[in-house]
Amino acid sequence: MDAVVLESVTKRFNSVTAVSGLDLRVREGALFGLLGPNGAGKTTSLRMMMRVLIPDEGSVRIFDQPLSDRNQDLIGYLPEERGLYPRMQVRRVLIFLGALKGLSEAEAERRALQWLERLELGKWADKRINDLSKGMQQKVQFIAAVLHRPPLLILDEPFTGLDPLNAALIKDIMLELREQGATIILSTHRMEQVEMMCDSICLIHQGRKVLDGDLQAIKRSYGKNTLRIQYSGDDDFLNLPELIESANHFGAIVDVRLRPGADPQEILKAAVARGVRITRFELIEPPLNDIFIEKVSGPNA
């Protein structure tokens, strides 16, 4: 069964078409990456999944049912713009938000305290939201999204503002929830996270889908057309326009996109001829980052 199905969904605001004829399928149990540049229509699409917005055309189904008040409770949402009632106690905020998602207040409180303990916020339960640091507030917000154990979790940029330790903590919890059967939709700009965590993705641009499917399959479809070279010395050897389509520099490492049919051996030769020291020379599938840039800055952009 699919957790979310969008069928030719269109949403317009005045003259602006935010989402246009979008078809989307999120398999149950998937960790799904919803990608796209700023203003691509990601938030509008997510809001339509939660029935915050109603599509002008097309249909949205959650766990094979049309949206209703009842299946709104099946979703947990971490919005990109974080915010909680600043003058309320942490405990009370979580009880309120948990109860709004259908838990009894006693149950919401019990779970909230467990989660706070687990995210090292046990001592802060009776403090006001205002007294917490930004990172702590983010963790409280994450708890609010998962408190009612939703089978569908929608996380919009869950790692922004978290230090590496806390980001790892949240990542582990996400993977654990997925183990337990939850479907997670991750909306983000951070391609390396998607690359490491997601099993399928959808890339939207200007309200339209430009790419979707299984992440490994997508990468495989591009083939091993990228060279990752680690070197020291001058980068003149990359000046081979007949072999190299583009190069993406990271300092000591460069990712080189080969032209179809180009022989990597030629590039190695050029490097050796110029006395460049090569410490790594590997043929890889293109990083998601490059696919993203190519799709978004391509001719249809």
């Binding site: 409770d73 909680l84 709004l100």
Partner: protein, 426 residues
Amino acid sequence: MRKIWLVVKREYLTRVRTKGFIFGTFAVPLIMLAMVIVPALLLARQASRTMKLAVIDGTGNLYSALAQGLDRKLPNGQPAYRIVRRVDSPSPPDQQKLREELRAQVNREELDGILFIPTKILEGEAAVLHTRNPGDFGTSNSIQRALDDAATAQRLKARGVEVEDVRALVGGVKLTLVKVTEEGEVVERGQTIILAIALMFFLYMTIFVYGLATMQSVQEEKNTRVVEILVSSLRPTHLLWGKLLGVGAVGFTQLGVWLTAGALLGTYGAVVAGMFRPGASFPRFPIPIHIMGFLAVFFVIGYFLYASLYAAIGAMVSSTEESQQVSAPINILLGFSPALLGVIIRNPNSPLAVALSMIPFFSPVHMVLRITLQTPPLWQILLSILIILTTTSGLVYLSARIYRVGILMYGKRPSLVELSRWLRYM
């Protein structure tokens, strides 16, 4: 329904827990109580002691009339004045010595005052009161009055007229005001107008304060972006209803506490004042139960009318400063009601007063004013309720549509054209 209830509960509990609410709710009854107790205490302090007087009567024949004029009792039953020394027509050398001696007694606080009555007082010479506290106007006034009466009696007597005869001849007559209502007649001493103004003021205040509170509540959720989570949990319209009901319930609670305190003091004020000073009085102004009932009804519908407007503004704008600007016309609209108070008081049943109390934006306050002053025909009351209800349901509907869209929009304030588009969104 359960979710609306959760929103109501959160709004209510977080608000009634604030120091501002607790202070505001209980300060008003305390101020009312102080209005009863403080005057009683002040009076009690002023006149709780018998004044010890020495009277030096240069005429030698005013004393008995003066003593009669000063023969009054304190609330505790003690005489207000006791004349401990009396000297009639002393010779000038004696008078000088006497003056020294009595002044020393005043300084030793054995005496509170010395009253010198000059020989020629009837011809206009001033009497002199020596006292440690010349600022005690209560005492000096009553001595002045007693002296006046004594002098008048003496002059009349000199012409062969008895003072009682004159009193009987020049005594004024009285006019008592009686308020006629369907329930019966009540002696009026200005309490109806005071009550009407007080009730109107409390009603206006609570509608205004809690209307604004609704706007701030919408703003807070929008600015902190909590609203994003909320609308993923319940419908925006339900959220709005929960908010209106929750904030309104807080206002209702406060108004209820104030009115109960007012009604209790209006009925038992004299008893309370009497506890602090036996015999102290306080005007009785019981608030009739039907007025309380109508006040509750008009608060509820008036609050919803204005709160729905304020909520829509809260959803339209993106900052607190902006919301203050945009809500100014609503504040003014609401402020017209107390400003037009005079029109209603002068003649509560004039065509203008009737018309004003049928305009939905004024009628909550003006109807309560009219009902308190001079109960209008029932059909007028019901008609005004019907007009407000119709307007309110229309406004709540429109404001819910604006709210739904507005809470997720940030940045520039919508123009009227954009606003009309918001109303049509699915």
